[in-house]
């Protein structure tokens, strides 16, 4: 045990000595949460728009007014000639062109169908889709209000019957995307740091030749391994705490559930990521290799975890694959616990699966690594 402590101390001394590392340990989580928080959890907003009004009536002006007064669009240009709106898309100045056709007001008054033409830069399929949805919503809201004001008299005469929704949003009443995304970023950070550091840490000793010195030192192999792994785990938990603290202060994310339970589940999850890093280091000769392999694995773990892209919408085969991804379970645990305050009885299945993954990956990688040391 004393010998393990010595190794742990050596690791911390190494970190302390490296000025760049020391700064990075503090900066990486904060910068990541800060930047990622804004980038990932920003809703589609301020989509650059050009409007071509061929109707020029009070109706078309009212519609333009509504389109201009939403955060989703940024109406930057008004073009008079329909033939020129395409130019705005080509030059990348606008992403959407709205053409309000001549006769719009007349059609609405006579209950004739009218068509509003939209020209959409479809390169970014997601933004295009979301913006289209918002425009549809704005037009629909305009119509509903119009119906309401015009049918006030009819409503009283009980000729017209409206069906209206009353919406109640639980857990996240303002539908803040950051509440949902930032816990995911915390998980990604923890996964990334522990995997990378444990993958590179051991290879580094081998690369600069100090591993042999350690191996001939009077210390058992498993003690060496434990002594190397524990600082990585502590580092990961420290970074996670820093990230959560910063996210709470800066983004005011809710933490409804029990943090003690969360710490426990995080430690279980760490066995998977540290094991993964160890496995990578058993297969690589240089730090560069270790880093490449870790990134290669991490990107897929990230994309197939439900962090950015909802799993339910993937094709069946891809969905099955995600069941093999430990981060999938931990992302779910984190979000449910933070936002909804889910407890162990809602999350025990995920917890058990993580235990299983952790035990399997960790044992396998330790065996593999010890073989490699010999």
């Amino acid at each position: 045990m004393r010998r393990v402590l010595h190794i742990i101390r050596k690791e911390f001394i190494q970190i302390r000595r490296d000025r760049t590392m020391r700064a990075l340990i503090l900066l990486v989580p904060i910068i990541q949460i800060w930047v990622l928080g804004y980038v990932i959890s920003s809703e589609v907003k301020h989509v650059s728009t050009v409007i071509c009004d061929l109707d020029r009536t009070s109706t078309s002006r009212a519609l333009i007014e509504r389109l201009s007064h939403t955060v989703y669009l940024n109406v930057r240009y008004h073009e008079e000639r329909e033939s020129l709106v395409g130019e705005y898309l080509d030059a990348g100045r606008a992403m959407i062109a709205v053409v309000l056709p001549a006769g719009l007001e007349k059609n609405l008054q006579t209950l004739q169908p009218s068509r509003i033409q939209l020209l959409v830069d479809g390169q970014d399929a997601n933004t295009a889709n979301v913006a289209l949805g918002h425009i549809a919503g704005i037009l629909e809201a305009y119509l509903t209000d119009r119906v309401r004001s015009q049918s006030a008299a009819a409503l009283l005469s009980e000729e017209i019957h409206l069906l209206t929704p009353v919406v109640q949003v639980w857990y996240n009443p303002n539908l803040k995307l950051s509440d949902f995304m930032i816990p995911g970023i915390v998980v990604f950070l923890l996964t990334m740091i522990t995997t990378l550091v444990s993958a590179m840490g051991l290879v580094r000793e081998r690369e600069i030749g100090t591993l042999e010195q350690l191996l001939v030192a009077p210390i058992k192999k498993h003690e060496l391994l434990i002594g190397k792994i524990i600082p990585f785990a502590l580092l990961g938990l420290f970074e996670m705490g820093l990230a959560i603290g910063f996210a709470r202060l800066w983004y005011h994310i809710p933490i409804v559930g029990n943090l003690g339970l969360y710490l426990l589940l995080s430690i279980i999850f760490l066995f998977t990521t540290l094991g993964l890093g160890l496995l990578v280091s058993a297969f690589s000769h240089t730090q560069q290799q270790a880093m490449f392999m870790s990134w290669f694995i991490l990107i897929f773990v990230l994309l197939m975890s439900g962090f950015l892209f909802p799993i339910e919408n993937m094709p069946r085969l891809a969905q099955w694959l995600t069941y093999l991804n430990p981060m999938r379970y931990f992302i779910l645990i984190t979000r449910e616990l933070f936002i909804k305050g889910a407890g162990l009885r809602h999350l025990y299945i995920q917890g058990l699966i993580l235990c299983l993954f952790g035990a399997l990956i960790f044992t396998f990688s330790v065996l593999r690594f010890q073989k490699r040391l010999k």
């Binding site: 760049t20 590392m21 990075l24 910068i31 804004y38 980038v39 920003s42 301020h46 989509v47 940024n74 395409g86 080509d90 990348g92 009218s114 068509r115 479809g122 390169q123 970014d124 399929a125 997601n126 425009i135 037009l139 629909e140 119509l143 119906v147 015009q150 049918s151 009980e158 000729e159 017209i160 019957h161 409206l162 069906l163 209206t164 919406v167 639980w170 857990y171 539908l175 995307l177 509440d179 580094r204 690369e207 600069i208 730090q287 560069q288 490449f292 392999m293 990107i299 897929f300 994309l303 197939m304 892209f309 909802p310 919408n313 993937m314 094709p315 979000r335 909804k340 889910a342 809602h346």
Partner: protein, 369 residues
């Protein structure tokens, strides 16, 4: 002078060859990403799990539910008996939204001027909740218009024409971004790592005391990575073009020219990083913070710049990948020419030259000091 550079070149090629793992990953990674984006990843939200709490149980309420589920936005995963079942249902993730149809719905719908149904959303996943809510609202508006046919306005039809990517395929959008990230990874990350590895293992000093000039060292170390980045970009282009039909509408020669400019800018960034870091680990972290993350997050690769807060939008102006993406997408998807794209080119040239000048100077002082 020539043979000295060739020697450094040879040495670097040997380094790359000795490490087939990294080489394999550099080529395999983008292909896997394209496959993933092509097949697995979609932003569409469909089949949102919905629970029904029907307190009316009349033909009218059943009809409403049926009509709602005939689209593939929702699938009904639970039928609740009373309101107390809602909370456990949300916590066990059995549904994301509940539609509550009030008692008397049938009668009210035809006798009262206004009838309400309640939507209770699990707001934890803000994205899904927002889409579900918008869809339910517009569904109810449409139902209202149908109920009162001939009395109220007809819906405003939207006729969208999608340019550049008519099927809204995310692969088309992602491929130029992947090229930008991969080239940045190879040119900036690998070069900064290889230089800092020499420093860490102490071989950089050996090279410095040999009769090679710093410029020669840099060129010799960097040239193999230029080749590698270029080959990789071509492989990505070919694969995405022939397997997933990603178009190259403009001139290929122009695209290659833009790639070379971008390679120059990324290399300068890599050399700059390695001139300022001592260990591989530090170089790695710095490269991640300085090259990889900005290229992924702040370039417009998947996250639109217009939606970011103002400060981050300013930061994007110093991210080289942003400019390359404008160029690559312009040529590949829009098919526009150089007259639309000269500004980003000018910027990348200035960016690269500035960084290179600063780091060469730094290397020289290192050598002398």
């Amino acid at each position: 002078m020539k043979p000295r550079i060739v020697a450094v070149l040879q040495k670097e090629f040997i380094h790359i060859w000795r490490d087939p793992y990294s080489l394999l990953i550099v080529f395999l990674f983008p292909m896997m990403m394209i496959l993933l984006y092509g097949y697995a990843i979609t932003f569409d939200i469909k089949y949102i799990p919905l629970a029904i709490l029907d307190q009316d149980r009349s033909p009218a309420s059943q009809q409403l539910v049926e009509k709602l589920t005939s689209s593939n936005y929702f699938r009904i995963t639970a039928r609740l008996q009373d309101r107390r079942a809602i909370e456990p249902g949300f916590l066990h993730r059995r549904m994301s939204a509940v539609l509550v149809i009030p008692p008397d719905f049938d009668r009210r719908l035809t006798s009262r001027p206004e009838t309400s149904v309640q939507l209770i959303m699990d707001g934890a996943n803000a994205n899904t909740a927002m889409i579900a809510m918008n869809y339910l609202k517009s569904f109810l508006t449409r139902t209202t218009l149908e109920l009162n046919q001939g009395l109220l306005a007809t819906p405003l039809e939207i006729e969208p024409r999608i340019w550049y990517n008519p099927d809204l395929k995310s692969t088309h959008f992602v491929v130029p971004g992947l090229i930008a990230i991969l080239m940045m990874m190879i040119c900036a990350m690998l070069t900064s790592l290889t230089i800092s590895r020499e420093r860490e293992t102490g071989t950089l000093e050996q090279i410095f005391v040999s009769p090679i000039r710093p410029v020669e060292i840099i060129i010799g170390k960097v040239a193999p990575y230029i080749l590698l980045a270029f080959l990789d970009a071509m492989a990505i282009l070919g694969f995405s073009h022939w397997v997933f039909g990603v178009p190259i509408r403009g001139s290929l020669a122009l695209l290659v020219f833009f790639m070379l400019i971008y390679i120059y800018a990324s290399l300068s960034l890599g050399v700059f990083i390695s001139s300022r870091t001592r260990t591989q680990q530090a170089a790695l972290f710095a490269a991640m913070l300085g090259t990889l993350l900005p290229s992924v997050l702040l370039s417009g690769f998947v996250f639109p710049i217009a939606s970011m807060p103002r400060v981050l939008q300013w930061v994007t102006y110093i991210v080289p990948a942003k400019y390359f993406l404008i160029q690559a997408r312009g040529v590949m998807l829009k098919g526009v020419g150089f007259d639309y794209l000269y500004l980003p080119t000018v910027f990348l040239l200035i960016f690269g030259t500035l960084l290179l000048a600063v780091s060469v100077k730094r290397f020289k002082t290192n050598l002398e000091g």
